[in-house]
Protein backbone atom coordinates (compact mmCIF):
# COMPACT_ATOMS: atom_id res chain seq x y z
CA UNK A 1 0.00 0.00 0.00
CA UNK A 2 1.00 3.63 -0.41
CA UNK A 3 1.87 5.74 2.59
CA UNK A 4 3.70 9.02 3.03
CA UNK A 5 6.88 8.38 4.98
CA UNK A 6 8.88 11.38 6.21
CA UNK A 7 7.20 13.50 3.57
CA UNK A 8 7.83 11.09 0.67
CA UNK A 9 5.29 8.89 -1.10
CA UNK A 10 6.38 5.34 -0.27
CA UNK A 11 5.19 1.82 -1.10
CA UNK A 12 5.21 -0.51 1.91
CA UNK A 13 4.18 -4.06 2.75
CA UNK A 14 4.38 -3.46 6.49
CA UNK A 15 1.08 -3.75 8.31
CA UNK A 16 2.09 -2.03 11.54
CA UNK A 17 4.34 0.76 12.73
CA UNK A 18 6.54 -1.79 14.56
CA UNK A 19 7.09 -3.68 11.31
CA UNK A 20 7.82 -0.45 9.51
CA UNK A 21 10.47 0.50 12.09
CA UNK A 22 11.98 -3.00 11.85
CA UNK A 23 12.16 -2.84 8.07
CA UNK A 24 14.16 0.38 8.36
CA UNK A 25 16.44 -0.99 11.10
CA UNK A 26 14.98 1.43 13.64
CA UNK A 27 13.96 0.55 17.17
CA UNK A 28 10.45 1.73 17.99
CA UNK A 29 11.56 2.85 21.48
CA UNK A 30 14.32 5.04 20.02
CA UNK A 31 12.03 6.61 17.46
CA UNK A 32 9.47 9.35 17.72
CA UNK A 33 6.54 8.24 15.61
CA UNK A 34 4.09 10.81 14.33
CA UNK A 35 1.13 9.43 12.44
CA UNK A 36 -1.35 11.84 10.81
CA UNK A 37 0.04 14.66 12.99
CA UNK A 38 -0.46 12.68 16.22
CA UNK A 39 2.37 11.22 18.30
CA UNK A 40 2.06 7.47 18.69
CA UNK A 41 2.74 5.87 22.09
CA UNK A 42 2.26 2.21 21.15
CA UNK A 43 2.03 0.12 18.00
CA UNK A 44 -0.89 0.36 15.61
CA UNK A 45 -1.75 -0.91 12.17
CA UNK A 46 -0.96 1.10 9.07
CA UNK A 47 -3.65 2.13 6.62
CA UNK A 48 -3.40 3.28 3.02
CA UNK A 49 -2.51 7.01 2.76
CA UNK A 50 -1.31 7.34 6.36
CA UNK A 51 1.22 10.12 6.82
CA UNK A 52 3.98 8.76 9.00
CA UNK A 53 7.11 10.38 10.32
CA UNK A 54 9.85 8.34 11.97
CA UNK A 55 12.24 10.64 13.74
CA UNK A 56 15.39 9.29 15.40
CA UNK A 57 15.61 10.61 18.95
CA UNK A 58 18.74 12.58 19.88
CA UNK A 59 19.93 12.92 16.31
CA UNK A 60 20.09 16.06 14.18
CA UNK A 61 18.19 15.28 10.97
CA UNK A 62 19.56 15.95 7.51
CA UNK A 63 18.51 19.32 6.21
CA UNK A 64 16.09 18.04 3.58
CA UNK A 65 14.39 15.85 6.19
CA UNK A 66 14.05 18.74 8.60
CA UNK A 67 11.29 20.55 6.74
CA UNK A 68 9.10 17.46 6.55
CA UNK A 69 9.80 16.65 10.18
CA UNK A 70 9.01 20.12 11.45
CA UNK A 71 5.69 19.84 9.73
CA UNK A 72 4.98 16.34 11.04
CA UNK A 73 2.74 17.63 13.82
CA UNK A 74 0.84 19.93 11.50
CA UNK A 75 -2.62 18.73 10.71
CA UNK A 76 -2.74 17.50 7.09
CA UNK A 77 -4.96 19.47 4.66
CA UNK A 78 -5.24 22.62 6.81
CA UNK A 79 -1.48 23.05 6.82
CA UNK A 80 -1.37 24.20 3.21
CA UNK A 81 -3.62 27.18 3.97
CA UNK A 82 -1.45 28.15 6.90
CA UNK A 83 1.73 27.83 4.87
CA UNK A 84 0.31 30.13 2.20
CA UNK A 85 -0.75 32.81 4.67
CA UNK A 86 0.86 36.09 5.54
CA UNK A 87 0.37 37.96 8.81
CA UNK A 88 1.63 41.36 9.93
CA UNK A 89 2.44 41.78 13.62
CA UNK A 90 2.64 45.44 14.66
CA UNK A 91 4.38 45.84 18.00
CA UNK A 92 6.81 43.15 19.18
CA UNK A 93 6.46 43.41 22.94
CA UNK A 94 4.77 41.02 25.34
CA UNK A 95 1.93 40.37 22.93
CA UNK A 96 3.56 40.61 19.52
CA UNK A 97 6.69 38.59 20.30
CA UNK A 98 4.58 35.68 21.57
CA UNK A 99 2.04 35.95 18.77
CA UNK A 100 4.77 35.89 16.11
CA UNK A 101 6.49 32.88 17.68
CA UNK A 102 3.18 31.07 18.01
CA UNK A 103 2.32 31.71 14.35
CA UNK A 104 5.82 30.62 13.28
CA UNK A 105 5.43 27.37 15.20
CA UNK A 106 2.06 26.86 13.53
CA UNK A 107 3.73 27.18 10.14
CA UNK A 108 2.55 30.57 8.85
CA UNK A 109 4.45 31.18 5.60
CA UNK A 110 5.21 34.90 5.82
CA UNK A 111 5.50 37.02 8.95
CA UNK A 112 5.75 40.79 8.63
CA UNK A 113 7.26 42.12 11.86
CA UNK A 114 7.03 45.81 12.74
CA UNK A 115 8.55 47.65 15.72
CA UNK A 116 10.87 50.64 16.24
CA UNK A 117 12.27 49.70 19.63
CA UNK A 118 15.28 47.78 20.94
CA UNK A 119 15.27 44.94 23.46
CA UNK A 120 15.98 46.15 27.00
CA UNK A 121 16.23 44.33 30.34
CA UNK A 122 12.75 45.43 31.49
CA UNK A 123 11.27 43.52 28.53
CA UNK A 124 12.41 40.15 29.80
CA UNK A 125 9.65 39.86 32.41
CA UNK A 126 7.14 39.03 29.70
CA UNK A 127 8.59 39.16 26.21
CA UNK A 128 10.06 36.40 24.08
CA UNK A 129 13.65 37.73 24.20
CA UNK A 130 16.84 36.61 25.88
CA UNK A 131 19.84 38.27 27.51
CA UNK A 132 21.86 38.00 24.32
CA UNK A 133 19.25 40.11 22.51
CA UNK A 134 19.71 43.18 24.74
CA UNK A 135 20.32 46.27 22.64
CA UNK A 136 19.21 44.66 19.38
CA UNK A 137 16.24 45.90 17.39
CA UNK A 138 13.25 43.80 18.36
CA UNK A 139 12.61 43.04 14.70
CA UNK A 140 16.12 41.57 14.32
CA UNK A 141 16.08 39.74 17.66
CA UNK A 142 12.72 38.14 16.96
CA UNK A 143 13.67 37.22 13.42
CA UNK A 144 16.77 35.48 14.75
CA UNK A 145 14.74 33.63 17.34
CA UNK A 146 11.98 32.56 14.95
CA UNK A 147 14.47 31.19 12.45
CA UNK A 148 15.85 28.99 15.23
CA UNK A 149 12.35 27.60 15.70
CA UNK A 150 11.17 27.36 12.11
CA UNK A 151 13.77 28.21 9.46
CA UNK A 152 11.16 27.95 6.72
CA UNK A 153 9.20 31.08 7.64
CA UNK A 154 9.82 34.05 5.41
CA UNK A 155 10.29 37.10 7.62
CA UNK A 156 9.92 40.69 6.50
CA UNK A 157 10.90 43.37 9.02
CA UNK A 158 10.30 47.10 9.32
CA UNK A 159 12.03 49.18 11.99
CA UNK A 160 9.57 51.99 12.04
CA UNK A 161 7.05 53.73 14.27
CA UNK A 162 3.57 53.33 12.81
CA UNK A 163 1.59 56.52 12.26
CA UNK A 164 -1.47 57.57 10.32
CA UNK A 165 0.48 58.49 7.21
CA UNK A 166 2.64 55.36 6.81
CA UNK A 167 -0.12 52.80 7.45
CA UNK A 168 -1.10 52.45 3.79
CA UNK A 169 2.43 51.79 2.52
CA UNK A 170 3.37 49.51 5.41
CA UNK A 171 0.34 47.24 5.37
CA UNK A 172 -0.86 47.24 1.75
CA UNK A 173 0.51 43.71 1.15
CA UNK A 174 -0.90 42.22 4.35
CA UNK A 175 -4.34 40.66 4.61
CA UNK A 176 -4.39 39.95 8.33
CA UNK A 177 -2.93 42.49 10.72
CA UNK A 178 -2.28 41.99 14.40
CA UNK A 179 -2.30 45.09 16.61
CA UNK A 180 0.05 44.33 19.50
CA UNK A 181 1.15 47.77 20.67
CA UNK A 182 1.53 48.86 24.27
CA UNK A 183 0.43 52.48 23.89
CA UNK A 184 -3.34 53.05 23.67
CA UNK A 185 -2.99 55.90 21.19
CA UNK A 186 -0.87 53.75 18.89
CA UNK A 187 -3.47 50.97 19.15
CA UNK A 188 -6.32 53.30 18.18
CA UNK A 189 -4.29 54.89 15.37
CA UNK A 190 -3.52 51.53 13.76
CA UNK A 191 -7.06 50.15 14.10
CA UNK A 192 -8.71 53.31 12.76
CA UNK A 193 -6.10 53.58 10.01
CA UNK A 194 -6.45 50.00 8.78
CA UNK A 195 -10.24 49.99 8.88
CA UNK A 196 -10.72 53.36 7.21
CA UNK A 197 -7.88 53.24 4.65
CA UNK A 198 -8.63 49.68 3.49
CA UNK A 199 -11.89 47.80 3.06
CA UNK A 200 -10.70 44.21 2.81
CA UNK A 201 -8.23 43.74 5.66
CA UNK A 202 -8.79 42.05 8.98
CA UNK A 203 -7.32 43.35 12.21
CA UNK A 204 -7.02 41.49 15.50
CA UNK A 205 -6.37 44.03 18.26
CA UNK A 206 -5.98 43.98 22.03
CA UNK A 207 -7.02 45.98 25.06
CA UNK A 208 -6.71 45.17 28.76
CA UNK A 209 -4.37 42.41 29.96
CA UNK A 210 -2.31 43.92 32.82
CA UNK A 211 -2.09 42.50 36.35
CA UNK A 212 -3.21 39.09 37.53
CA UNK A 213 -7.01 39.21 37.44
CA UNK A 214 -8.84 36.06 36.41
CA UNK A 215 -7.57 34.42 33.24
CA UNK A 216 -11.18 33.91 32.25
CA UNK A 217 -11.92 37.62 31.99
CA UNK A 218 -9.77 37.77 28.85
CA UNK A 219 -11.97 37.15 25.83
CA UNK A 220 -12.05 37.53 22.06
CA UNK A 221 -14.74 39.87 20.82
CA UNK A 222 -15.87 40.43 17.24
CA UNK A 223 -16.71 44.08 16.58
CA UNK A 224 -17.44 43.55 12.88
CA UNK A 225 -16.33 41.25 10.07
CA UNK A 226 -12.90 42.91 9.88
CA UNK A 227 -12.28 43.87 13.49
CA UNK A 228 -11.63 41.60 16.47
CA UNK A 229 -10.38 42.57 19.90
CA UNK A 230 -8.89 40.44 22.66
CA UNK A 231 -8.44 41.27 26.33
CA UNK A 232 -10.66 42.21 29.25
CA UNK A 233 -11.27 45.64 27.73
CA UNK A 234 -10.36 47.58 30.84
CA UNK A 235 -7.31 46.49 32.87
CA UNK A 236 -4.63 48.92 31.80
CA UNK A 237 -1.00 48.86 32.85
CA UNK A 238 -0.42 51.54 35.47
CA UNK A 239 1.60 52.32 38.54
CA UNK A 240 1.18 49.42 40.96
CA UNK A 241 -0.32 47.16 38.28
CA UNK A 242 2.24 46.09 35.77
CA UNK A 243 2.17 43.77 32.80
CA UNK A 244 2.87 40.20 33.83
CA UNK A 245 3.84 37.27 31.66
CA UNK A 246 0.89 34.93 32.32
CA UNK A 247 -1.96 37.28 31.49
CA UNK A 248 -0.13 38.95 28.60
CA UNK A 249 0.53 35.47 27.18
CA UNK A 250 -3.13 34.53 27.56
CA UNK A 251 -4.12 37.57 25.53
CA UNK A 252 -1.41 36.80 22.97
CA UNK A 253 -2.82 33.28 22.71
CA UNK A 254 -6.29 34.67 22.06
CA UNK A 255 -4.98 36.89 19.29
CA UNK A 256 -2.85 34.18 17.70
CA UNK A 257 -5.74 31.72 17.73
CA UNK A 258 -8.15 34.25 16.22
CA UNK A 259 -5.61 34.92 13.48
CA UNK A 260 -5.27 31.18 12.87
CA UNK A 261 -9.06 30.89 12.65
CA UNK A 262 -9.19 33.73 10.11
CA UNK A 263 -6.45 32.07 8.05
CA UNK A 264 -8.53 28.89 7.99
CA UNK A 265 -11.67 30.77 6.99
CA UNK A 266 -13.50 30.82 10.32
CA UNK A 267 -14.68 34.36 10.96
CA UNK A 268 -16.73 33.72 14.10
CA UNK A 269 -15.07 33.82 17.50
Amino acid sequence: MKIKLNGKLTETECNSVYQLCDSLFKKFENTTVIINSFQLKSDRSIKENDEIFLIDKNKMPEKEELSAMLFARHTPKIHEKIQNSRVAVAGLGGLGSHIAVSLARTGVGILHLIDFDVVEPSNLNRQQYMINHLGMYKTDALKEEILQINPFVKIITHNVQVNKSNIYELFKEDFIICEAFDDPKAKATLVNGILTQFTNKKIVASSGMAGFDSSNSIITKKINGNFYICGDGKTEAKEGRGLMAPRVSICAGHQANMILRLILGYDNI
Binding site: G91, G93, G94, L95, G96, A180, F181, D182, D183, P184, K185, K187, A188, V191, N192, L195, T196, A205, S206, S207, G208, M209, A210, I223, N224, G225, F227, I229, G233, K234, T235, E236, A237, K238, L243, V248
Partner: protein, 65 residues
Protein backbone atom coordinates in the same frame (compact mmCIF):
# COMPACT_ATOMS: atom_id res chain seq x y z
CA UNK B 1 -33.53 54.25 20.57
CA UNK B 2 -29.90 53.64 19.74
CA UNK B 3 -27.87 50.83 21.22
CA UNK B 4 -24.39 51.78 22.39
CA UNK B 5 -22.03 49.09 23.67
CA UNK B 6 -24.95 46.74 24.12
CA UNK B 7 -27.12 49.14 26.12
CA UNK B 8 -30.24 50.80 24.77
CA UNK B 9 -29.91 54.54 25.23
CA UNK B 10 -32.36 57.40 24.81
CA UNK B 11 -30.67 60.44 23.30
CA UNK B 12 -31.77 63.93 22.43
CA UNK B 13 -32.58 64.12 18.74
CA UNK B 14 -29.61 65.31 16.72
CA UNK B 15 -26.94 64.14 19.15
CA UNK B 16 -23.71 63.58 17.25
CA UNK B 17 -21.09 60.94 17.96
CA UNK B 18 -18.74 63.68 19.12
CA UNK B 19 -21.30 65.07 21.59
CA UNK B 20 -21.90 61.61 23.01
CA UNK B 21 -18.16 60.91 23.33
CA UNK B 22 -17.56 64.28 25.02
CA UNK B 23 -20.42 63.79 27.47
CA UNK B 24 -19.08 60.41 28.45
CA UNK B 25 -15.50 61.69 28.68
CA UNK B 26 -13.95 59.39 26.12
CA UNK B 27 -10.40 60.26 25.10
CA UNK B 28 -10.71 60.62 21.32
CA UNK B 29 -7.12 59.46 20.85
CA UNK B 30 -7.83 56.09 22.45
CA UNK B 31 -10.99 54.91 20.71
CA UNK B 32 -12.46 53.39 17.59
CA UNK B 33 -16.18 53.81 16.85
CA UNK B 34 -18.15 51.30 14.85
CA UNK B 35 -21.71 52.02 13.72
CA UNK B 36 -23.91 49.38 12.05
CA UNK B 37 -20.85 47.44 10.87
CA UNK B 38 -18.70 50.34 9.67
CA UNK B 39 -15.87 52.19 11.36
CA UNK B 40 -16.59 55.89 11.60
CA UNK B 41 -13.54 57.96 10.60
CA UNK B 42 -12.58 60.42 13.32
CA UNK B 43 -13.19 63.30 10.92
CA UNK B 44 -16.89 62.35 10.87
CA UNK B 45 -17.49 62.19 14.63
CA UNK B 46 -18.71 65.77 14.51
CA UNK B 47 -21.09 65.22 11.58
CA UNK B 48 -22.53 61.81 12.27
CA UNK B 49 -25.85 62.12 14.07
CA UNK B 50 -26.85 59.09 16.12
CA UNK B 51 -30.08 57.73 14.62
CA UNK B 52 -32.64 55.84 16.65
CA UNK B 53 -31.92 52.45 15.04
CA UNK B 54 -28.12 52.73 15.18
CA UNK B 55 -26.12 50.01 16.84
CA UNK B 56 -22.84 51.51 17.97
CA UNK B 57 -19.77 50.00 19.54
CA UNK B 58 -17.20 52.28 21.10
CA UNK B 59 -13.93 50.42 21.56
CA UNK B 60 -11.74 52.00 24.19
CA UNK B 61 -8.08 51.04 24.12
CA UNK B 62 -6.20 50.86 27.40
CA UNK B 63 -2.41 50.67 27.71
CA UNK B 64 -0.51 47.41 27.86
CA UNK B 65 0.95 44.89 25.51
Amino acid sequence: MAKINGIVIELLQGTTILQYLDTHKFNLDYIAVECNGDIIPKSQYNEKVIESEDIIEIVNFVGGG
